[in-house]
Symmetry: D2
Subunit: 152 residues, 4 copies
């Protein structure tokens, strides 16, 4: 049995990224900083499409920021131009002002990379962390219930 096997929890938020020419380096595989850009895009889409929260309004309207404070990533199998990589977002932890998400990149049931990202909600005016608003916290908790226990 392949220990890289990955089956996303039912109802977990998954989006497929087409690996493009522009993602790849002279070795023919994705240049790794592009994965972090894909993660950020996935989180943006998760807010908007899954939680029903317009991410751009959170930033531009409410003047909130979501800087990353910690990121850990394991790169297991490289991806190549023409492949379609599935990215699944799992919730790991809901803190007072922070949120920890796990993003798993997988293809055909095999895990290719896994990242844990800790982000903190801040005010762009004061640059300080702010408590997660109640309505947002409820949406996070609903997603956690939907996708199962917090993932490590």
């Amino acid at each position: 049995m392949n220990d890289n096997q990955f089956v996303p929890p039912q109802d977990a938020f998954t989006r497929t990224v087409a690996i493009r020419f522009s993602h790849c380096d002279p070795a023919g595989v994705v240049y790794f900083p592009h994965y972090f850009d894909m993660f950020n895009g996935l989180i943006e889409d998760w807010y908007t499409e899954q939680l029903g929260v317009d991410y751009s309004k959170l930033i531009l309207g409410d003047r909130h920021g979501f800087p990353y404070v910690h990121i850990e990533t394991d790169f297991k199998i490289p991806s190549r131009m023409g492949e379609h990589l599935d990215l699944t977002l799992l919730l790991t932890r809901i803190g007072r002002s922070s949120l920890t998400v796990t993003i798993v990149g997988h293809l055909a049931g095999v895990e290719r990379l896994r990242a844990r990202l800790v982000t903190t909600m801040t005010s762009l005016e004061t640059q300080r962390s702010v408590e997660l608003p109640h309505a947002l916290r409820q949406k996070f908790e609903a997603y956690l219930r939907l996708t199962g226990q917090a993932q490590s």
Copy 2:
């Protein structure tokens, strides 16, 4: 005392990156995937300028790859357009085919971010890891002696 204080070991490889307009996002700070691109550039320069190994020949000539297998990063203080961020490369561990480096981003003696990156030397032909060549290992060991104990 500020626990973010950072004094690089004497003789450690440090390069300064001018934070540009293009690095920054609508929140006015560096968009985080750019840091990973800066790390890769620093490692490239370290091979060429510090170790005297032409990194492009390692890739294009000898057909070696240096994919990252694990990355951990703590983002402590954001950086803004017009600032000059110092990046210092420390060696953490020399393995059989892998190398672990710690990169500290600092400005005016204060640590802003810290990353640990594990990279494995591979053959681009076989896509498998290869043992670090003796000459390269000696250069890594010399740098380790120059900059002090392995850093965690």
Copy 3:
């Protein structure tokens, strides 16, 4: 009447790009090099989805390149995070080994930017231009018939 009005020809290839946080700069609008990356992605999708030609096989399998030899772009109206920009690809000219495409970025019927890109088909082995293969030329001509006269 607004002279920036734009109605794409019926059956023209159009894809919508969500303008993301990561596309935008401290001025809050798309940092212009990202548009060129979007253009390249649109052309890639046009080959694969409209013409039925797997672009990654053209590059990786047949070892062809499609370098740009000339690009002209007019930027008329900036785009912001949260907007959805439509990109329409029109054929301008089919040469012996070159192809000229016009890409129009538009939103709600108003043209925001327009680019003309000349690309040449090359062999990655010889680095020289090659004549467009007959089958590919036929697909280009069919798209030209579908979308009307060559556009300037």
Copy 4:
């Protein structure tokens, strides 16, 4: 005689860019949007290092923007990892609120690419173009005298 020969005017602003692994695509040459990022960086450095104007203060302090309204580029010879590309900035035209610069990429006396970029000074508050301030115009005119006639 090679009609791609290029000798920059004496005293023209030139900076060298090390072509990195990260700039290059699976075809082994610079992925073209990176050139536009290099152009923007060159212009930024030209303001700060040549004209003595802190570009970040113009943006963040004075709240000015310098969006591009038109760009034309000829790509003549591709560049590869490990090469050092010289970029020279020439002034083409000083308008009421716009500035046209020509950037030539060259290596060992041979021109590899040439771009003409028209930028307009705007107010980030009103999003409208503003007249170039007198002090800035004088600096542009001094650079024009230094490097010879306006270039086409």
